[in-house]
């Protein structure tokens, strides 16, 4: 009976708890080329607020940023005491041909810092376009799989699943998702985030 009471209380209180999710990403997360409120972190916030009214989302996407900035940016973001950290970085590392080992080390440092501060981590996999060559692409893709396995963190294998390369879901530059593309990203990622809440 006592156990039932505690469980019921938890179920009742949990949605009311003011959870904070921080999206640490690059231009894909920032919503490059589209209004801020149409970027996928904001769409996720809207959806989650239906069940978690006090939840807040911080879009810490920054165009052009690489994994090298992850640690310093996270130090700044930890001041706002997030509960969940959604990492979607690495695209610019790949596009600039950065050494994959360096990108992996950078991401690992950020994961360590988050874990040490009791922040749950979701890692979103990033892939680079086919034109970068099969070998580099594979090496790059494997970073995220390795990190997820090693750190036992929630993993979304591919952030742009169903979006990359689809003309109708991207801006004229062919790289950044448009509003519809961000809606697809939201639908892809929302179930995983919900599970953590």
């Amino acid at each position: 009976m006592k156990l039932f009471f505690v469980l019921a209380l938890f179920i009742f209180i949990a949605p009311l708890h003011a959870k904070k999710i921080v999206f640490l990403g690059d231009s894909l997360t920032e919503g490059y080329g589209i209004p801020l409120d149409k970027a996928y972190p904001k769409l996720i916030e809207k959806e989650l607020k239906k069940s978690f009214p006090k939840l807040t989302v911080v879009n810490a996407g920054s165009s052009g940023s690489t994994t090298a900035s992850a640690l310093s940016r996270l130090k700044w973001l930890l001041k706002s005491k997030p509960d969940i950290l959604f990492i979607a970085l690495g695209g610019n590392d790949g596009l600039r041909g950065v050494n994959v080992n360096a990108s992996e080390t950078n991401l690992q440092q950020a994961i360590d810092l988050a874990k040490n501060n009791n922040v749950q981590v979701i890692l979103a996999g990033v892939r680079i376009p086919m034109n970068y060559g099969e070998k580099y692409r594979k090496n790059f893709e494997n970073i995220f799989i390795r990190l997820a396995k090693k750190n036992k963190i929630t993993f979304i294998p591919y952030l742009l699943k169903g979006v990359a390369g689809v003309k109708e879901l991207n801006l004229p530059d062919g790289i950044h998702p448009n509003v519809k593309g961000h809606e697809v990203i939201m639908k892809n990622t929302l179930p995983t985030i919900k599970k953590l809440l």
Binding site: T67, S69, G165
Partner: protein, 847 residues
């Protein structure tokens, strides 16, 4: 026949006037012709440079493959290109023979690329023009030289691009189609036919697909029309349509500067000539009043006299125009020979048919319009003028005077509009020149009043000189106006040149950057300092960069200021995209290299208790449509930061230093997540490569872009522009001095009668000399100073309104020109007075 005889005798009898008038008009027209020749030559040269940058006249680019049928149909309906070629550009990691890999830009070209310029390759240690057709036949590649080290590869060895190995056949020594933008990776050329073998381009690949066209066109506007028509026909948001001029903003900006400046110089030369001509004709006509009185008393009507004088002017105009054309035809080829090797471009001395007609029209219509306001005044003259001694008082400003003055100004306005190819610019030129005329007239009136009211010197000769100037105010003012406007125009061009040159000033070679580096993390700064110390390099303008999103302007949501709707057209989509992008902020106290405050006050030190001030770059503030006092709210990674615009900053783009649209004072953003951007000044070959390798190895995320080739390219164009400015200024200075010389010389020669009178009244030689010296001094000092003063006012407005540049005061030309004017006028006056003093007074009076 009798009429011609009359004209010839008039020419001979008034040879001093005729010669100076013809010379004056011919100088104006010749300057006009020369400037036209230069304008065409320079425009062609810079135009061809922009064609080289693109390698074609016209182009289309998209992230999606370009479908031939669609474009061919569109072109068929508009204008059929003479030739077309396709290009695919993409980035890829490629590997050298030792397995070392590197990010490169793959540029897959067809056999006829480029249409303009060439790719110079070094093969077997010899430079030669690369024949792109050879790239198509086998798996071969031409690579940029830095890749030899970066991939550890030698000529003849293989590199792996995608799934295929290519043999490195040559290194690219010079690439005219390198473009004006920088790329973060060195380039590798392969044949378009071989791109497929690499398997790099498939679903999920990112590439630029371009079609470049060679199109014959007579007028550049045809290309612009084609661009607009194609935009309508191919409503693809992802498609970029551009002309060769669109490729480089810098090139088109330089062309605009140059065209406006040349237009200004041409008009200034013609204005100068018109002022000189009008002054000479006025003096001539005053002398002709008595003969006119005789014609009238012999039965000629005023209309006939008017026509007779107009025909004479017309004849002078025709002679001037013919002289200018002879100059154009004979001296221009000579000019071409002289300037060969000196000029950074080829002079096209062929006179255009249009220019020849224009010179003839300007000679004929111009001479009449110059004289018309003065001629119209002889309508009032009656035969009884013969009985009067004082003739100038009969030249009254009647309706005809004002009407012909108005027509003359309208003609100059139309000419200015045509020259500047813009109603606004042409109107600005004319408006400012009219304003200048009014200001000088106002100053002249004030001086006459002061001279009349106050006794500055007690000397008799000074009092006489003042009395003589004040006695005939209209005549004196016309001299002040002529010399003042002459001085104004003479000084205006060097003054404007100083402002434009300031904009084009480039730092010394040693300060020009070799590399730009970005994405430097805060915790990497020490490691970077160690590397720069090792290679003895001082980083320039290392700036923090904070990414932010603009949320509100004056408390109004920025998104509300955007266009809504699903079906936005291409322009709306692009505008939307640019408004939705984040912005890079930076912070520092004080201005950076090449920055100046256009409006407002400097940024104050950060004060926690008050709203922080921010500084915006001028063009950026215009794009955002914000002004000083507006409040902008930014979102920096979830934290809101507000700032009030306290100044608008101008950035001199030729410094090639990293600059920011939005600046905060030191202290506000220091805690925010940031990266650093920096530039590396010029360093030599070996150190350059070692430094680059060291940065890539130690700080793998730091992007390091080699801008040496880009800087060299832009520097070449800027130097050409500076040279053109210098040359035009010299032409204008020469024309100005010649006009001023003709005015003062003619003025001095008209004194003989006054000298005779003074001599008959018993004036000593020294007193007469002193009297004329005072006269010359008063006129030249005041008119020179008026001209220079009004020139400063005009150049200020022109610099700000037309050239959008900082107003720079250049004092050398004003000082030298005023001193030159005074000294030369005194010398001419001295010689003329001496000549007259040595002739008997009775002879002078009889003449």
């Amino acid at each position: 026949m009798r009429l011609i005889k009359y004209f010839v005798s008039q020419l001979i009898n008034n040879r001093s006037f005729s010669l100076l008038f013809i010379l004056n008009l011919a100088i104006g027209l010749s300057s006009f012709v020369t400037l036209d020749v230069f304008k065409n030559s320079i425009s062609t040269s810079i135009n061809s440079k922009s064609k080289l940058l693109l390698g074609a006249d016209f182009g289309l680019s998209s992230r999606q493959p370009l479908l031939d049928d669609k474009f061919n149909t569109a072109f068929d309906e508009l204008k059929q290109p003479d030739a077309e070629t396709s290009i695919v550009e993409t980035f890829s990691m490629i590997a050298g023979p030792t397995g070392q890999s590197r990010l490169v830009q793959i540029k897959a070209i067809e056999e006829d690329f480029p249409f303009y310029g060439d790719i110079t390759i070094n093969k077997d240690n010899k430079n030669q023009v690369g024949v792109a057709s050879r790239l198509q036949n086998a798996e071969i590649a031409w690579i940029y030289p830095e890749l030899l080290i970066q991939l550890n590869v030698k000529i003849g060895e293989k590199i792996k691009i995608g799934q295929t190995e290519f043999v490195v056949k040559a290194i690219v020594e010079n690439d005219s189609a390198e473009g004006i933008t920088t790329s973060m990776a060195p380039r590798v050329y392969i044949g378009l036919k071989n791109l497929e073998k690499t398997q790099l381009i498939q679903f999920g690949s990112v590439a630029w697909y371009s079609k470049l066209y060679k199109i014959e066109y007579e007028d550049f506007d045809q290309l612009i029309d084609l661009k607009l028509d194609l935009k309508d026909k191919l409503s693809e948001p992802s498609l970029q349509i551009y002309t060769h001029k669109d490729v480089s903003e810098q090139t088109s900006r330089i062309l605009k500067y140059l065209n406006d400046f040349l237009g200004l110089v041409s008009i200034a030369a013609l204005f100068l000539s018109a002022i000189g001509g009008a002054f000479l004709f006025r003096s001539y006509l005053i002398k002709q009043i008595k003969p006119i009185g005789i014609y009238l008393s012999l039965g000629m009507t005023n209309k006939q006299v008017f026509l007779l004088q107009s025909l004479q002017l017309l004849m002078l105009g025709v002679i001037s125009a013919l002289l200018s054309l002879i100059f154009g035809f004979t001296l221009s080829p000579l000019l071409k020979v002289i300037t060969q090797g000196l000029l950074p471009f080829e002079l096209q001395t062929q006179l255009q048919t249009g220019t020849i007609y224009l010179i003839l029209i300007l000679g004929c219509v111009g001479s009449i319009l110059i004289g018309a306001p003065i001629l119209s005044q002889i309508y009032n003259i009656k035969p009884n003028i013969l009985l009067r001694n004082q003739t100038t008082q009969f030249l009254k400003r009647n309706f005809g005077f004002w009407l012909s003055l108005f027509i003359g100004l309208v003609f100059l306005w139309a000419l200015s509009v045509w020259q500047a190819d813009s109603v606004n610019t042409g109107s600005l030129f004319t408006g400012l020149f009219i304003l200048a005329g009014l200001l000088i007239t106002g100053f002249a009136y004030s001086v006459l009043y002061l001279l009349k009211t106050f006794n500055l010197f007690k000397s008799l000769s000074f009092k006489w000189a003042v009395r003589d100037i004040v006695r005939l105010p209209f005549s004196s003012i016309s001299i002040f106006l002529s010399i003042g406007l002459g001085m104004l125009l003479l000084n205006l061009i060097p003054q404007i040149k100083a402002s434009i040159n300031y904009e084009l000033t480039m730092p010394k070679d040693s300060k020009l950057p070799s590399f730009f580096m970005f994405d430097i993390q805060e915790d990497q700064m020490n490691a970077l300092k160690d590397i720069t110390k090792k290679y003895n390099i001082d980083l320039v303008q290392t700036s923090p960069m904070v990414r932010a999103r603009l949320k509100k302007i004056n408390n109004k949501d920025f998104k509300d200021l955007q266009i809504d709707g699903e079906n936005l057209n291409r322009e709306q989509q692009r505008r939307q995209m640019s408004r939705n992008r984040g912005y890079n902020l930076s912070y520092r106290n004080g201005l950076g290299i090449g920055e100046s405050i256009h409006k407002g006050t400097p940024l104050n030190e950060y004060d926690h208790s008050a709203m922080t001030g921010i500084s915006l770059e001028k063009r950026f503030s215009e794009r955002l449509d914000v002004k000083i006092g507006d409040v902008l709210l930014f979102d920096i990674q979830g934290v809101e930061v507000e700032g009030k615009i306290v100044n608008i900053r101008k950035v001199q783009w030729t410094t090639f230093q990293p600059n920011f649209f939005i600046l905060f004072p030191d202290g506000v953003l220091n805690e925010a997540p940031k990266t650093y951007i920096s530039s590396v000044p010029k360093i030599s070959g070996k150190i350059k490569q070692d430094f680059q390798n060291s940065v890539v190895k130690t700080l793998p995320n730091v992007s390091i872009i080699d801008v040496t080739r880009l800087v060299k390219r832009i520097k070449g164009i800027i130097q050409q522009m500076s040279w053109a400015l210098q040359f035009m200024t010299i032409i204008c200075l020469l024309a100005g001095f010649l006009v001023l010389f003709s005015i003062t010389n003619y003025q001095a020669r008209q004194k003989s009668k006054d000298i005779a009178l003074l001599k008959s009244l018993g004036g000593s030689f020294s007193l007469i000399r002193s009297f004329f010296n005072w006269q010359v001094l008063i006129v030249t000092v005041f008119s020179g100073l008026f001209g220079v003063l009004v020139c400063f006012i005009l150049s200020y407005f022109l610099s700000m309104l037309l050239f959008d540049s900082k107003w720079i005061v250049e004092l050398q030309t004003p000082i030298l020109s005023v001193l030159g004017l005074i000294l030369v006028s005194l010398l001419i006056s001295y010689l003329a007075t001496n000549k007259s003093l040595n002739i008997k007074a009775s002879k002078l009076l009889n003449d």
